[in-house]
Amino acid sequence: MADLEQAAAESWEHEEKEMRHFLRFTRAQRLLHATLFTTFLGLAATGLPMRFSESVWARALASGVGGFGAILAFHKLCAVVLTLAFLIHVRDIFTRAFIHREKGIFWGANSMVANWKDVKDLFGHFRWFLGLGPRPQFDRYSYWEKFDYWAVFWGMVVIGFSGYAMWFAPFFAHFLPGWALNAVLVIHSEEGLLAILFIFSIHFVNTHLRPDSFPMDLVIFTGIESEEEFKNRRPKEYQRLMAEGKLEARLAEAPGIWQLNFSRVVGFTAVAIGLLLLVLTLSAYF
């Protein structure tokens, strides 16, 4: 028994050593994602009870944390933190693009801006789904990842603006017509609902729960993926870096076992909370 275990451990170590690892996300990017998903979970957990305040679970949750006052205070706290993270991100983009004159921010393979290849990839992906063509060769960011990014970006602006308009309604009333004060609640709650439904179903499945990544893609937590994953998921980027001779520059240490376990705990907790909130949301409709 002991021999077998030792042998298994050795072979695992051997494989790990053999396999090269590459950096996908920088520490700043991972921190941004961590801030985004923790505040988003907080906003969803406190926003849903307000949206469905007539339901039993909303009232139970509200009374559990000290009523509506506590819920709203927490909602606002998460909102402020997320707003700051968003503003820091926007400032970062602007500094890189306009102060440091970094190339490829608004266009090119490393940019989040959609291009013609994304359109072709979308149709190509559908053809592959139906068995009508080969799997598209994705570059650094695939079209659905770009969609996720811009959905959040748009959501931040729309939900953020409508939220602050409600928070500081008498102030916003100086610029907005009266009916807009009615509209901001509709906008805030519908867009929030869209974000919640999208993240807790589509994003979870696309990124973590589909067979290729099941049960969880840890790269957003560790920042590092194996060469095999890199090659399979984004062959275009891999080949491009290889051709440009920049592949070695992206080499990284394999994530430590504590790092993987920590990522798993955080990731599964977030997914579990998200799925619970998804079930509660759907229970309000069905």
Binding site: P49, M50, R51, S53, E54, A58, R59, A62, S63, G66, G67, F68, G69, A70, I71, L72, H125, F126, W128, F129, L130, G131, W144, A151, M166, A169, P170, F171, A173, H174, L176, P177, G178, W179, A180, L181, N182, A183, L185, V186, I187, E190, E191, L193, L194, L197, F198, S201, I202, V205, N206, R210, P211, D212
Partner: protein, 426 residues
């Protein structure tokens, strides 16, 4: 109060609660009635005085002073001499009430005491009332031990204001009795109400007790138009203490509707309930009140439900959010077209500003009852909602299809690859 005799002698001075419950004319009427009753009682006293000379209290108490004395059927016939002497009837001879006893020894069986010989007004009131058919002796059911009856401003009296709920509750908190007569089990509701608290915790004599609303002897069913608890009479009944509120109510749309005979309009008890009345600023009342207004104003409730006011308020713990009466007023509710209404266009800045400091003319264009489903009434809101819904449904539909196809294809590929690898991990 139906002008009792000795019992009511000192009432107006000793019980200030009663004072403002009566206008001057009524009060004078009551005094005259009281005076006539005293005369009547004195008459009865004189009438029985002559034969009673033969049989003094001390003669009766020679036997009945023994508290262990029982009649043939085992009922105690002992009389606590000291208590009786101190009681309201202590100066009367025994035969004043036990009129059939003329001499000693008296027959084993004696006829029950007829209180109405002196208390005719109360007896006639009782005869029409819900308690007319009480099988027990109707007087002592409430007034307690016949030989220990005290004025109702005496704390020893069973009908002392602070003792009344317990006295009435001795029957009206009995679940079996409540079921038998189809009564609401109201005692616990009352005791937990603001009136019950004031009475039981603070010992507040002016707090409404059972008889403040229902009367004492002439208690009628609330379905009887003569009853003080008949719907149309409720504003007057509650107004006998809450005069200011009643005046405001009479001024508002609900009061006017009820006064004109429209009994669909709410009276005090429709919003505040009859027995479980809460302090209106209390969280529990603020939580329960909106659906009460909404039970008639259903369209307004449903549009209110769509707003942030309701979404906030529904969760509890944060009850400051606007409920119906925070904007519309509670008692003297007026239509928005009335310049005196707090929801009149001219008053909105002030009304909204009570919760929203800095509210301006643009801010108050907010519609607290906007209907995003009504294209004609709120076109801008209607199209905003339509756009948001289409965005939501469109995005989700596209990605649900995308994801499902992807899942199927990935799983298919996975199985194919594994079987190609000879079933490894398969």
């Amino acid at each position: 109060m139906t002008g009792g005799c000795l019992l009511d002698r000192s009432t107006p001075a000793a019980n200030p609660a009663k004072e403002h419950r009566h206008d001057a004319a009524k009060w004078i009427g009551a005094c005259m009635k009281t005076a006539s009753s005293i005369k009547l009682a004195l008459g009865a006293l004189l009438a029985v005085a002559a034969p009673s000379l033969a049989l003094a209290q001390t003669d009766c108490l020679a036997c009945h002073g023994d508290m262990t004395l029982q009649d043939a059927s085992g009922h105690s016939v002992g009389v606590e001499a000291h208590t009786f002497a101190a009681s309201l009837h202590g100066s009367l001879q025994c035969t004043a009430c036990h009129t059939t006893i003329k001499e000693y020894p008296h027959p084993d069986k004696v006829t029950p005491v007829e209180c109405q010989n002196c208390h005719a007004d109360q007896a006639s009131g009782l005869a029409d009332s819900v308690h007319a058919k009480a099988s027990e002796h109707p007087c002592i059911s409430c007034h307690g031990n016949a030989h220990a009856i005290f004025p109702k401003d005496d704390p020893r009296s069973a009908v002392y204001p602070l003792n009344i709920p317990r006295t009435c509750g001795s029957c009206h908190s009995d679940a079996a009795l409540a079921k038998k007569y189809g009564l609401a089990n109201v005692y616990s509701f009352y005791m937990d109400s603001i009136h019950g608290f004031a009475l039981s915790r603070e010992g507040l004599l002016v707090a409404a007790n059972c008889q403040s609303c229902h009367g004492s002897h002439h208690i009628l069913r609330h379905t009887n138009p003569l009853s003080s608890t008949y719907k149309a009479n409720i504003p007057k009944t509650c107004g006998s203490c809450h005069a200011g509120i009643a005046a405001g109510y009479a001024f508002g749309v609900h009061g006017k509707a009820v006064a004109s005979g429209n009994l669909k309009a709410p009276v005090c008890t429709d919003c505040h309930t009859a027995h479980a009345i809460l302090q209106p600023t209390e969280a529990a009342f603020r939580m329960q009140s909106t659906p009460i207004c909404g039970s008639c104003h259903q369209d307004k409730l449903s549009t209110y439900r769509d707003t942030f006011h309701s979404q906030l308020g529904g969760l509890g713990g944060y009850v400051q959010t606007a409920r119906c009466w925070d904007c519309h007023g509670a008692h003297g509710i007026l239509p928005a077209s009335d310049p005196r209404s707090p929801v009149n266009q001219a008053n909105l800045v002030k009304t909204c500003g009570r919760c929203h400091p800095g509210a301006n003319l643009s801010f108050v264009q907010y519609q607290p009852h906007a209907n995003a489903r009504d294209r004609k009434l709120n076109p801008a809101l209607y199209f905003v909602r339509l756009f948001m819904n289409l965005l939501l449904i469109g995005t989700l539909t596209f990605f649900v299809i995308h994801t499902i196809l992807w899942l199927i294809r990935s799983r298919y590929n996975q199985i194919k690859t594994r079987s190609a690898e000879g079933g490894k991990n398969g």
